[in-house]
C-alpha cells in the first residue's frame, strides 16, 4: 500500500514540483499516473522509491513512513522496488545479461541463482535471443524491455515505470503494457506514468491525473 498525504516537493530555486498531493494505491493495484510534460510525474515516482525526499507531508510505503527512515533503510526499500527509469539508465559497457544481473549482485545472489533468474527475466520480456548482445545493438523497444527485465529480476512487490511507452510506436507500446499486465496478474503493485493518455483508455484501470503538481481532472 502506498499513501501520499498532503505531500509537497520543492526543488532548489523555489520550484514547486508537487503541491498538497494526496492519494493512495492499494496493494496489487495497477494504476496510471497521467499528466502533461513537467506536471511532476517523475518527481512523484522518485518520492515513492525514496530517491527523493518530500519537503512536507507524509509518504507511506508498505506501512513505512519514508520521512522517518535513515540511509540504510532507504537502500533496503529500493531493493524491494523495481524501477524503470524515464532515461533508461542502461549501462552501455556491458551486454544485456550483465545489465540485468546488477540488480541481483546487489542482493548477493549466488552465481547459479543469478544465471537462472536473469535468463528467466530476459525470457519473460522476450529478449532471450539477445541475451549476449550489447545494448547499442538493441532497438528502442528492446532497450525498454531490457529495463523491465532488470526491474523485475529480483521479483519486487512494487514496480514503478516512468513513461515506459514514450518514444515507442503504438504497437510496441501496447506490447510493453501487456508485459505489465502479466506482472500485475502475478500480484505486483504497478504504477506507470504516461504523458499520452490515448493509449491508456482501453485498459480499464485507474488513472491518477496530475496537473502542475496537483491532482487534476
Amino acid at each position: 500500500m502506498i499513501v501520499f498525504d498532503q505531500v509537497y516537493k520543492k526543488y532548489p530555486g523555489n520550484i514547486t514540483a508537487v503541491e498538497n498531493l494526496s492519494f493512495s494505491i492499494e496493494r496489487g493495484e495497477l494504476v496510471f499516473l497521467a499528466g502533461h510534460s513537467g506536471a511532476g510525474k517523475s518527481t512523484i515516482l522518485k518520492l515513492i522509491a525514496g530517491s527523493l525526499t518530500a519537503s512536507d507531508g507524509m509518504i507511506m510505503v508498505n506501512g513505512i513512513d519514508l520521512s522517518k527512515i535513515n540511509q540504510n533503510h532507504r537502500t533496503f526499500i529500493r531493493q524491494h522496488i523495481g524501477f524503470i527509469f524515464q532515461d533508461h539508465k542502461i549501462l552501455f559497457d556491458r551486454n544485456v545479461f550483465a545489465n540485468v544481473r546488477l540488480a541481483l549482485d546487489i542482493l548477493g545472489y549466488s552465481e547459479k541463482e543469478v544465471k537462472t533468474r536473469v535468463t528467466k527475466a530476459i525470457t519473460s520480456v522476450g529478449l532471450e535471443h539477445k541475451i549476449n548482445v550489447m545494448p547499442q545493438e538493441l532497438s528502442g523497444g528492446e532497450q525498454q524491455r531490457l529495463c523491465i527485465a532488470r526491474a523485475v529480476v529480483h521479483r519486487p512487490k512494487i514496480l514503478i515505470a516512468d513513461e515506459p511507452t514514450a518514444n515507442l510506436d503504438r504497437g510496441n507500446a501496447l506490447r510493453i503494457l501487456e508485459l505489465f499486465k502479466m506482472f500485475h496478474k502475478a500480484g505486483v503493485t504497478i504504477i506507470i506514468s504516461a504523458h499520452d493518455e490515448n493509449i491508456l483508455g482501453d485498459y480499464g484501470k485507474r488513472i491518477i491525473r496530475i496537473n502542475q503538481g496537483q491532482l487534476g481532472s
Binding site: L52, Q71, T75, I81, F83
Partner: protein, 306 residues
C-alpha cells in the same frame, strides 16, 4: 559466507578491470609510482641522516700527533691514558703509524709524487697519529681529555676541531629540515594525485555507480570493488616504486663509494627494510581507500542521488 563470496567477486572484478584497459592502467600506475619513488627516496635519505646523527658521526675528532721516534711502549702509554676515559666521552680510537700515513698520502693523486720522493729519501716526515672519535658534544669534558693527553711527554700536539663539528651539526640539522619539508610536500602531492587519479576513474564509472545506487546498492556494495581496484593499482605502483628507490640508493652509493672508504659506512645509504616497505605501501593504500570513499561521495553529490 555470502560476504566472503561478495568480497571474492569484487576482487576478481577488480583484476579483470585492470587487465581490460592495461594501457590506461599503466599510466595511472606509473603516475602514482613516480611520486611514491620521489617520496620514498626522500624518506630513505632522511632516515639515513637520522642514523648519521644517532651514530654521532658529527662529534669532534681529536687528533694526537706523537713525537718523532716514539717506540711501541710510548704508544701503549698513550693508549692506556685514553682508556682511562669512559665510553661516554670516547667512542673509539685508531692508531695510524707513520708508514700507514705515508701510504695514505701516496693514494692521493696530487701528493703522490711528493710522497714517493719522501719515501725514497728514507726520511718519513709524517708523524705517528692517534685519532679519537668522541662520543659527546660536551666541550668541557672534551677539553679535559685534550689537556690530559697534551701533558704526556711523548705527545707532540693535540688538535680538536670543535668548529668543524659544530658546522657539521648545523649542516645536518639544516638538511634534515629541508628533507622534512620535502617529505610533507610530496606526501601532500601524493594524496592529491591519488585522489585525482581515483576521482577520474570514478568519473568513468559514474553511470554504474549511480545506477547501482538507484536500484538499491548499499555504500559498501558500491565501494568494495572500487576499493579493491584502488588497492591493486596502488600496491603495484608501490612495488614498482620500492624497486626504483632501491635503484636510486644503489646509484647514490656508487657515487659516494670513494667517500665511504675515507669515512666508513656512515656515508652509505641503507635501503628500506621489508617492514618499512610494507609500512609505506600500507600507508599509501589507506590513502587510496579513503580517496575512493571521497570520490564516490563526490559522484553521489554531483548527480543528486540521495
Amino acid at each position: 559466507m555470502k560476504t566472503i563470496s561478495m568480497h571474492f567477486r569484487s576482487f576478481i572484478l577488480a583484476i579483470y578491470d585492470i587487465f581490460k584497459n592495461p594501457f590506461e592502467q599503466l599510466l595511472n600506475i606509473l603516475t602514482i609510482a613516480v611520486i611514491i619513488t620521489v617520496l620514498g627516496s626522500v624518506l630513505v635519505i632522511s632516515k639515513n641522516i637520522y642514523n648519521l646523527q644517532k651514530n654521532n658521526m658529527n662529534f669532534p675528532q681529536i687528533v694526537i700527533y706523537l713525537k718523532d721516534n716514539v717506540g711501541q711502549n710510548d704508544i701503549s702509554a698513550v693508549e692506556a691514558a685514553i682508556n682511562k676515559f669512559n665510553s661516554k666521552v670516547i667512542k673509539n680510537y685508531q692508531f695510524i703509524s707513520k708508514a700507514e700515513g705515508l701510504n695514505e698520502l701516496e693514494k692521493d693523486k696530487e701528493l703522490k709524487q711528493i710522497a714517493s720522493d719522501v719515501a725514497s729519501s728514507n726520511n718519513n716526515p709524517v708523524p705517528d697519529v692517534l685519532i679519537i672519535n668522541t662520543n659527546t658534544p660536551d666541550s668541557h669534558s672534551l677539553q679535559m681529555l685534550v689537556n690530559k693527553i697534551s701533558k704526556l711527554n711523548m705527545v707532540d700536539d693535540v688538535q680538536m676541531d670543535v668548529n668543524y663539528a659544530n658546522k657539521i651539526t648545523n649542516l645536518v640539522g639544516f638538511i634534515s629540515k629541508i628533507l622534512r619539508l620535502l617529505q610533507v610536500t610530496f606526501s601532500i602531492i601524493l594524496i592529491i594525485v591519488i585522489y585525482n587519479v581515483i576521482r577520474l576513474q570514478m568519473l568513468l564509472r559514474q553511470d554504474e555507480i549511480i545506477v547501482s545506487r538507484l536500484i538499491g546498492a548499499s555504500d559498501s556494495f558500491i565501494m568494495r570493488p572500487l576499493a579493491y581496484y584502488a588497492i591493486l593499482q596502488i600496491t603495484i605502483a608501490s612495488a614498482l616504486a620500492m624497486y626504483l628507490v632501491n635503484l636510486f640508493v644503489i646509484y647514490i652509493n656508487n657515487m659516494f663509494i670513494s667517500l665511504s672508504s675515507l669515512f666508513g659506512d656512515g656515508f652509505l645509504l641503507k635501503q628500506f627494510s621489508p617492514i618499512q616497505m610494507l609500512q609505506v605501501t600500507g600507508t599509501v593504500v589507506i590513502f587510496g581507500i579513503f580517496a575512493v570513499f571521497l570520490a564516490v561521495r563526490w559522484v553521489f553529490r554531483k548527480s543528486y542521488v540521495a
